[in-house]
């Protein structure tokens, strides 16, 4: 059993994760982020068996509210009333795509401090649509029409020194591949095959998850394009390289997201939930691109902070790892740094399909950011929700077919912040 690290133990008692779609999808026709938010919060409260009056505090994560929600600032009051929570304390976290993880950590800390008993963290994000300032939230337009919409190369550019930072100009996408080749001696073709295999594995996972955004297996896509060998398709011009190492299939898919998680003091968790999950610890670091291989280093720093307080902990005993995969290199690097896959050997696990949800070393059973989808500030909430479903054994058709008792959730956002969270079934 892992040692939970908080002065007051904290457990997860409820969650929700809406299907990963876009507002172009008929399933989300005539909706806005407000309806999705209300659904996410209410579903999580129903899952936890609590009413709005029972929630002591809300932590809300959204990255692009000013841009995508009609230039509205801090829409905390509106969001609260849509979920029946008007009058509660609420904190807005905006830390790019790390926001969802940090919202969870803030919720955990709020309970661990003893200040609050039950706290909900929730996220909403609409990366591909926005409503204009002079129109209501359901009158949506494609984000391409927004003058000055973000792209990683611009929005994550350091304007203090006009330098490349964060994920600007593919620093993230390339440096992990360069690091891997440099340190582990594999050639570029093997790395390419590894990344392609990873995309196939994640899509295989997503094809078993109705909530995922992209669910058609690459084998099926390849056949339709006239390829019997799916790897030949993945290496073809149908799946072009968008950087030196990363192909289109290895790049994040953006979509509208909503989800929520409710945590409470562990001593009252059983009152609400038959299967509470213990939050063991969390760690987070931020850095810049001042040093090469910063993304790798952030993984190292979070790992050391997270594992440092655990005696006799062997990361090989983890049942599942869920990790941000903005581009292919991130999954491979983080899985090895955190000891979930052996250092310098992880590529073989991807090539052999051993990271699929039904194999021996499952990673991102929901499909990860490459197939499940990614919604900026809400992404961390949904990644944690998947961990919770898996630990309860209620993930559905992408359920990992073994007991899932110890899980590492690792996230990254903006190229600046990396987070690690350990969860365990202790009841």
């Amino acid at each position: 059993m892992l040692k939970q690290k908080f002065a007051r133990p904290v457990s997860v008692i409820g969650t929700s994760s809406l299907p990963q779609r876009t507002f172009d999808d008929p399933e989300y026709k005539d909706l806005s982020v407000y309806e999705l938010w209300a659904a996410a919060c209410n579903q999580a409260m129903q899952d936890a068996g609590v009413k709005p009056k029972d929630i002591d505090k809300v932590v809300y994560s959204q990255m692009a509210n000013f841009v995508t929600c009609g230039n509205v600032m801090a829409p905390v009051g509106s969001l609260e009333e849509w979920a029946g929570l008007a009058g509660k304390p609420i904190t807005h976290i905006e830390q790019a795509c790390a926001g969802g993880y940090l919202a969870f950590n803030e919720a955990v800390n709020s309970v661990a401090s003893g200040k609050y008993d039950i706290v909900m963290c929730a996220g909403i994000e609409s990366p591909k649509h926005f409503n204009a300032r002079n129109q209501p939230a359901y009158m949506l337009q494609p984000i391409q029409k927004y003058d000055g919409w973000w792209s990683p190369g611009r929005a994550l550019f350091d304007t203090a020194y006009s330098r490349f930072d964060g994920v600007s100009d593919n620093l993230l996408t390339e440096e992990q591949g360069k690091y891997y080749i440099k340190h582990y001696g594999i050639d570029e073709k093997t790395l390419d095959d590894t990344y392609n295999a990873m995309a196939i594995n994640l899509r295989y996972n997503a094809s078993h998850n109705p909530r995922a955004l992209a669910r058609t297996p690459y084998s099926e896509i390849a056949k339709k394009a006239g390829y019997d060998d799916v790897m030949a398709y993945m290496r073809s011009k149908n799946n072009p390289k968008i950087t030196q190492y990363i192909r289109k299939s290895g790049s994040v898919l953006h979509n509208v997201e909503a989800g929520a998680i409710i945590v409470c003091s562990s001593d009252i968790a059983k009152k609400y939930q038959d299967h509470p999950i213990t939050v063991i610890d969390h760690a987070e670091v931020s850095n810049t691109q001042r040093f090469p291989f910063c993304f790798h280093q952030m993984n190292v720093d979070v790992r050391d902070a997270l594992y440092g307080g655990q005696d006799n902990f062997n990361p090989d005993d983890l049942d599942l790892m869920i990790t941000t995969v903005m581009t292919s290199g991130e999954q491979l690097d983080s899985a090895e740094v955190f000891g979930y896959l052996p250092e310098g050997e992880g590529y073989k696990y991807e090539l052999d399909g051993r990271t699929r949800f039904d194999a021996d070393k499952p990673i991102n059973p929901h499909g990860g950011d490459l197939s499940f989808g990614h919604g900026f500030g809400c992404a961390g909430i949904n990644m944690l929700s998947e961990a919770i479903f898996q630990m309860r054994g209620t993930a559905g058709t992408d359920q990992v077919p073994k007991p899932v008792n110890d899980v590492l959730v690792r996230g990254m956002g903006g190229g600046h912040t990396t987070v690690g969270i350990l969860l365990e079934n202790q009841d």
Partner: protein, 144 residues
Amino acid sequence: MYKLRPILKPYYDNLEKGKILGMKCADCGDVVWPPLPTCQKCGSTNLDWIDLGTEAVIDEIRFEDSSVAGDYTFRKADEFFVSKEPYCICIGHFPKGTRQFHAALYGVTEANKDQLISQLPITADAEFIQLDGGFKSVGFRVRA
């Protein structure tokens, strides 16, 4: 389990037809406007649409000249109103409603404000405010 359903679009579509919809909690009877899918009183999600009519009771008048603004960084909400007719802010409620609201109130001037305030509460008619984004919002107008 709570199910997704559109709230904003049916509300605005009905404004185009001259109808103002709120939501009524089937569990505790609380009526909320503008409509929300979660009861503000009991937290239930068992709410149904209710037609609130086109008359409201105005409980308070907060008179100010809406054409006078502060610094350009502190502009008022009527920037997108097609009509630039001055309005003031009121607090009111619908006869079928259980909650008060803030709204724009037209027809109050320096000349009649003292008389109107002395007559409160008063009945006002809905004023469907055209916004330049191609939709209507709800305000009220005092009866002459």
